[in-house]
Amino acid sequence: MEIPYTVSARPDTGLTNGKLGIWLFLASEVMLFGALFASYIMLRVGGATWPKGAEILNVPLATANTIVLITSSVTMVMAWASLMRNNFSKYRLYMGLTILLGFVFLVIKYFEYSAKFHHGLAPSTNTFLAIYFTMTGLHGLHVIGGMAVNSYFWGPGAKLWRQNPTWFTNRVEHSGLFWHLVDLVWIFLFPTLYLL
């Protein structure tokens, strides 16, 4: 079955179906993380005491990870721009860099997590660590999900470029929208958990 409106816009929405679909999905993602941010506020306002994130967590590592994710957002958008410029080899380079930077983020996160567990700090230790592990854990899963989709478009999915370049470019743009949301969530998670 052929999927309708992958290349041209649907007349009533003015959008391709993929574009509208990914934005509806991102809206649901905002509500998912919104529920967790609301839980954070509730725990913090309702708690008798609240620790300073920086005394428990590693600010330099989280700052490094912020820079890594911001850079990966730039390489992601450059991957899309390369396709718009008809330059497939540049696309492969930028998309590869985006996947690599996602991997670097996860490695840094792994070191952070293992240092916490090594010091006996677990989600069950207190409510601060519970919400820290929940929020950063869910965010980490999103990084893995984004990397999986990007890897598909870097590898086997890229065959579509030769058959239908406009559709492929649109798909990469939609994958990028998800990746930028993952970056956007981290931009708020970083000060909320580590600095305030």
Binding site: T13, W23, V74
Partner: protein
């Protein structure tokens, strides 16, 4: 690809690089605010303002929201309304907990 189209993409790419620079600078600002050891309300307010500016830059430029179709704005306005309502819920709860205050 037309020359106009190529020039358009070049313009986009220049904007991406400027946004990249701004995001890196604002990350330094976020960390600098923390090391200033301001009072809690001032630090929280400032950090959230900087994060909102950074988030808006990502949404407007990297996610192309600056030139998107109306339907997407409609979806996002609804999302923002419910997102803010969700964040206000705990605050409203704490008000009803202490009716005398």
């Amino acid at each position: 690809m037309s020359a106009d189209h190529a020039a358009d993409i070049d313009k986009h790419v220049r904007a991406y690089m400027m946004v990249f620079g701004a995001l890196l600078a604002l990350t330094v600002v976020t960390v600098a605010i923390f090391y200033l050891h301001l009072s809690a309300p001032a630090a929280i307010g400032l950090a959230l303002v900087v994060a909102t500016v950074k988030g808006s830059l990502v949404a407007c430029y990297f996610m192309h929201l600056i030139s998107e179709r109306k339907l997407i704005y409609v979806v996002l306005i609804l999302t923002v309304f419910f997102f803010i309502s969700l964040l206000l819920l705990p605050v409203l709860t704490s008000i009803t907990d202490h009716p005398g205050v």
